[in-house]
């Protein structure tokens, strides 16, 4: 149960290649934070720096307030699940999970059992008796008194035990196995198990230890799609059961969205944005986050934003689409004037309207991907710009379904609430807060922007 603070953490490899730039994050106790980003963005490196498997070039990493930069992984009270499970091939599942417990040599306090308490009392009586008849020499009496004091103190404190007893280990491992549903595999070797089962053993091994921080390095990426969905649900349940701080690394944005309390979206060693899933989905700081979160990718158009009095319009496909509602007020509040923008809208926020009207755009369907519960339509407008639309099939009549074929023309309406406006040069969301990071060209951190 620990708070993890990363202050100005940098990772510079030999030949001054910087893998992680000025990483600052404060993970609260019991929070589930997900590092997400394309491969090579430094997410795994950061996780490994927290774990202690990589040296921290600059900056400090604190767990529960204690600087751990120089601590070895085993002294940081963390446990980790690896991408390729890293199970010990020569040990059975039980031994794999018991391995960390057998190595743990910390002293723990255990309550005395009944007979033990009785034995201590007898011992104390014996000493008192000796103390009584050793009236003559004081030194011996003083010694006896000290001994009696000690026994009394240890009686209250409880038994000091080094590491885990055998049955403690058995109990912890079997509990974990029960939680993960791998009880009847305990005597098998990892070689004889499927990917999913091996992943569960890996989680089990990390779970049995009581640890401050639970690290997971793309645990699901080696599993097939169906198993991945199932494991995602199990990890959510697991999180509630273990109830400790989680740091989870993945390149799959769906995992990030479903699992994370907060998501840290990263690219080329920089943090693009930190926020809750909804913040990242609805209010992306920049175009990169917008396009990275959500599948299929957000559509973007190079257009102009027109300010007419206190109304805003978007000049799209030589039509003027009005912007109303919350977005318009926000623009007004920010005092945005007419300017060039990058308009972003997610495929699922485009609505197919039955009738053509001022606010809709006629598009012809090029490809219709049938995904079962929804259609992914690849359409193109009159001037050829490609747009992707996602339409749930449930509320379409049979006739409409038949018409969804290549060449058919449909009318698209833009949901004003779902529009995003990005500055073409810096790709920063116009409505984003001051600490938004640009995602185009050399990345300038908020702090540095003032000097630039």
């Amino acid at each position: 149960m620990a708070r993890v603070q990363l202050e100005n953490v940098k990772k510079i490899y030999s030949g001054n290649v910087t893998a992680v730039h000025d990483f600052n994050l404060d993970i609260a106790d019991k929070e589930f934070v997900v590092f997400v980003g394309p491969s090579g963005c430094g997410k795994s490196t950061t996780l490994r720096m927290i774990a202690g498997l990589e040296d921290i070039s600059e900056g400090t990493c604190k767990i529960d307030g204690e600087v751990v930069n120089d601590l070895q992984p085993k002294d940081r009270q963390i446990s980790m699940v690896f991408q390729n499970y890293a199970l010990y091939p020569h040990l059975t599942v039980f031994e794999n999970m018991a391995f960390p417990l057998r190595l743990d040599k910390k002293i723990r306090i255990h309550p005395w059992s009944e007979e033990e308490l009785k034995k201590i009392d007898e011992h104390i009586e014996k000493l008192i008796a000796q103390h009584a008849d050793a009236t003559g020499n004081d030194k011996k009496r003083a010694q006896l008194e000290k001994k009696i004091e000690e026994l009394k103190a240890s009686k209250e404190k409880g038994k000091e035990v080094k590491g885990f007893t055998q049955d403690e280990i058995f109990e912890r491992v079997t509990n974990a196995a029960k939680v993960l549903g791998i009880t009847n595999f305990l005597t098998r070797k990892p070689k004889a198990m499927s990917g999913g089962q091996r992943q569960r053993v890996a989680i089990g091994r990390a779970m049995v230890k009581d640890c401050k921080v639970f690290l997971m390095d793309e645990p699901l990426s080696n599993l097939d799609a169906k198993l991945r969905n199932q494991m995602r649900a199990e990890i959510i349940l697991l999180r509630k059961r273990i109830n400790t701080t989680f740091v989870y690394v993945t390149h799959d944005q769906t995992e990030a969205m479903t699992l994370g309390d907060r998501i840290v979206c990263m690219r080329d060693g920089f943090i693009m944005q930190v926020g809750t899933p909804t913040q990242l989905f609805d209010m992306p700081d920049n175009l990169f986050v917008a396009q990275f979160i959500g599948a299929p990718m957000m559509n973007t158009f190079n257009t102009k934003l027109l300010k007419d009095g206190d109304k805003y319009y978007v000049d799209l496909f030589n039509r003027k689409l009005p912007i109303s509602g919350a977005k318009a007020d926000a623009l007004k509040e920010k005092g945005i004037q007419t300017r060039d923008i990058l308009l972003g809208i997610r495929p699922e926020h485009l609505i197919v309207s039955k009738t053509a009207s001022e606010g809709t755009i006629p598009v012809t369907i090029e490809v219709n991907e049938m995904m079962g519960s929804e259609y992914h339509l690849h359409v193109s407008s009159e001037d050829g710009t490609k747009i992707i639309v996602r339409i749930p099939t449930i509320n379409l009549s049979d006739k409409e379904r038949e018409e969804m074929v290549t060449g058919h023309v449909i009318n698209l309406a833009f949901e004003p609430k779902a529009m995003h406006f990005f500055d073409p040069e810096s790709e920063i969301n116009l409505l984003a807060g001051p600490e938004a990071v640009n995602s185009k060209g050399p990345i300038i951190l908020p702090g540095e922007r003032e000097q630039a």
Partner: protein, 287 residues
């Protein structure tokens, strides 16, 4: 259509037959020297180098002589066995320590050290023989007590033969070490509890090759023992039977000695051949 398919099967059968013929030929060529050795070992007709293949008179006389009180063969054989035993344990340990350090860790002097050992290995061995003799005689390990000396020299610089072991260790995924470290194991426990158990094939390969070494060493052993019967190994002893004044009377004993030296090494080799193949190739045993 039918002819071509038959052609395919026929062609494969012909190929197999030719392969079998070649293999039989190869086997004969490779086994002849050992057969001749065996035949000569059983020839009690004439103890000298008569150059005949088939024994004049079959008998176990030659073997009897070896185990009789007259010859020191048992003493030499025992010496070599002790040297081979200590050598295979010592060399395996040394090679493994070196290979594990160079394979699993990255430290400043790693590359220069490996290049240095590669280069040092190329110096022709004989010149260092007289120096090693002086070093060993300083330690009192020459002449009759040459056996501990040979063991020491055998083990001391065996760390340089770490290539094969390192090749095998390089195939071990790094995440195993990291998982164990995260679980709280010290680097020694990672070595002892996680990686070593997985190295069974390469350990057996190294034990095997280092056990076979001392049996064939006749130049160095002779230089250290300097003729003292107590310190000679079997190769030196058997070779002393071949010089001009002895050969007429001892050649067949040499053959019998050769058979007794070869048999255990062959049996050991056949028993562990599976590991030999696995060890050399970097191990098919993956995690």
């Amino acid at each position: 259509m039918e002819k071509r398919s038959m052609g395919m099967a026929a062609k494969r059968r012909v190929a197999n037959i030719t392969t079998y013929v070649i293999l039989v030929l190869i086997s004969i060529i490779w086994i002849i020297p050992f057969i001749f050795l065996l035949l000569n070992a059983f020839d009690v007709g004439n103890p000298g180098l008569t150059g005949n293949v088939w024994p004049e008179k079959w008998g176990l006389g030659n073997f009897a002589y070896l185990f009789s009180a007259e010859s020191n063969f048992l003493r030499w054989y025992f010496n070599t066995f002790i040297i081979a035993l200590f050598a295979c344990v010592g060399q395996t340990a040394m090679q493994f320590m070196m290979a594990y350090a160079l394979s699993r860790f990255r430290f400043k002097l790693r590359k220069p050290m490996m290049n240095m050992m590669l280069v040092l290995g190329m110096f022709p061995g004989f010149l260092t023989m007289i120096v090693l003799y002086e070093v060993l005689s300083g330690l009192g390990m020459t002449g009759d007590s040459a056996v501990p000396g040979l063991i020491l020299v055998n083990i001391a610089s065996s760390g340089m033969g770490y290539y094969v072991a390192k090749g095998f260790l390089d195939t071990m995924p790094k995440s195993l070490d990291e998982a164990a470290e995260v679980d709280g194991a010290t680097k020694f426990q990672v070595f002892y509890k996680v990686i070593m158990p997985l190295c069974k094939p390469i350990v057996i390969y190294t034990v095997l090759t280092s056990f076979m070494g001392p049996w064939g060493d006749f130049v160095f052993a002779a230089a250290i023992a300097k003729g003292a019967q107590g310190g000679m190994n079997v190769a030196t002893g058997l070779n002393s039977w071949l010089d001009s004044s002895n050969i007429a009377g001892f050649y067949k004993y040499f053959c019998a000695g050769g058979v007794i030296v070869a048999i255990p090494v062959i049996i050991l080799f056949l028993f562990l051949q599976k590991y030999y193949v696995e060890g050399v190739t970097g191990g098919a045993v993956k995690g």
